[in-house]
Symmetry: C2
Subunit: 284 residues, 2 copies
């Protein structure tokens, strides 16, 4: 365990050649920088000490628990929420798989140990009160035991006012970008059904690749012109919204998810920084 957890969070989890251990009482402030000269080399036990010090700094409740929220590192979707004790956090750090404490079974459980849909940890954050944790990770598959992508598929407003049709039920908690993606995807699915009346703009774009591509190019051009012609910021935001929307219709046509695109961006980052990679490419 002492060996594996040092690689938990990408890049920054590794122990430096100096084997620094100065977390101590300065974890809340910026004073740890002053302590560097006191750092100790050779850190196998020190790594354990660091994690223990970290765990000591968590404000566990009267049952020794804190809240942990698993969030998709690419989309930001909240996948699930559970509780954690010291061992659950230590195991998450060591295994890089989101691990919780089951209050009903009084045991540790790693999400995915049965379903194999693990949540692979990229980063862990703790809040200002030190009693709430974010597991920022990449899920191997649907997180919910029901097979849903996340556990949050029940909209309170739908409970208070049931939707008009079955197809409107079970809407995932989605933020703006993914709500747009779902709408476009729904329009695409509706193209398989008999059409009534004039098709919506999204459907017209989905049915006409020439129109769609001309719009993507046009909107990119208009975005650029807000810079070239020094237009105001609201124009830039509006044109970027147009670029995003039309490009996302193209993604839907190609069956590419925004999550796939973000994964590409994250992987580029994680190699050597996007600009360093780009400059290598541009310099051939």
């Amino acid at each position: 365990m002492a060996v594996s957890y040092i690689h938990c969070v990408q890049y920054s989890w590794k122990v430096s050649s100096r084997g620094r251990v100065s977390v101590s009482s300065s974890v809340y402030g910026g004073n740890h920088l002053k302590n560097r000269s006191a750092c100790v080399v050779f850190a196998s036990n020190n790594k354990i000490d660091k994690v223990e010090t970290l765990l000591d700094s968590v404000k566990w409740d009267d049952k020794g628990l804190a809240v942990a929220i698993a969030q998709n590192v690419d989309t930001g979707a909240i996948l699930m929420q559970g509780f954690v004790n010291r061992d659950a956090v230590a195991k998450t750090i060591s295994s890089r798989k989101a691990t919780f404490y089951s209050r009903s079974r009084s045991t540790l459980w790693t999400k995915g140990e049965t379903s194999m849909n693990f949540i692979n940890i990229h980063d862990i954050f703790i809040d200002c009160d030190r009693d709430s944790i974010i597991y920022l990770g990449k899920p191997d598959g649907p997180t919910c035991h029901t097979g849903a992508e996340t556990c949050y598929y029940t909209r309170v407003s739908d409970l208070l006012e049931p939707p008009e049709t079955e197809t409107q039920g079970d809407k995932l908690a989605e933020t703006t970008l993914y709500s747009l993606e779902s709408t476009i995807s729904q329009r695409k699915a509706e193209l398989e059904l008999p059409q009534n009346g004039k098709p919506s703009w999204t459907k017209r774009l989905l049915l006409n690749s020439d129109l769609l591509c001309s719009k993507v190019r046009e909107e990119a051009d208009e975005l650029c012109r807000t810079l070239e012609e020094n237009e105001d910021k609201s124009r830039t935001a509006s044109e970027m919204a147009d670029v995003l929307y039309h490009a996302m219709v193209l993604l839907a046509l190609k069956d590419v998810k925004m999550e796939d695109v973000l994964q590409v961006l994250r992987k580029r980052f994680s190699q050597s920084g996007i600009e360093e990679k780009k400059i290598r490419v541009s310099q051939g």
Copy 2:
């Protein structure tokens, strides 16, 4: 209270002219549709009943609490996490401001009642276990009492391995898109400092609008060609990543945040659906 909470969640929170009250035991499944013929008209008290039925369905813990997570509806950032009791959820529904129960003070508190940085509710979701809630909302300002945008600005890996420089400290929990945005923004800020060596690709783009605009147009064109020339999905994802990255450098130059862009998209949705709006525009 009976009047105001019916407008809590945009669009779907209003009571229909039929004043339906059929939440009852069918809230977990789809059977509520069968109950519509039994719906009762005139709903002022019924609205209260509906919320009470909903609150009855929550699995409150032994202290009468559940977890509530406030999430930015546009960016997906987890703003804060607190606990809620029945009254806190009812008040959130009625006021459209994220409200919690303070375990230390044993009182309700609405985020923003002191700072005026309210979290304005757009939607509420509950998880499959019925003991965890997402408040999907738009914050009026920074959520954390420290002035940080969210309460999650402490990276566990930085506690275990303090960053090399002060400027690397206090990194918000950011998902891929916003992590990229922060990196670009940091490169822009670095342009104010004395430059050493060759500038990165991002800096070159930031310093040369002609180059940047030619790249935005070129990447949009390449994205279209993956559709026109029937290239594989991975090419589409890769080209879309290029479009996003270069367009985001342009946004940084214009001081426009991705959050502003997403807000434009959300507002377009919320008027009459993006395609309906678009078709009106295109039909002049």
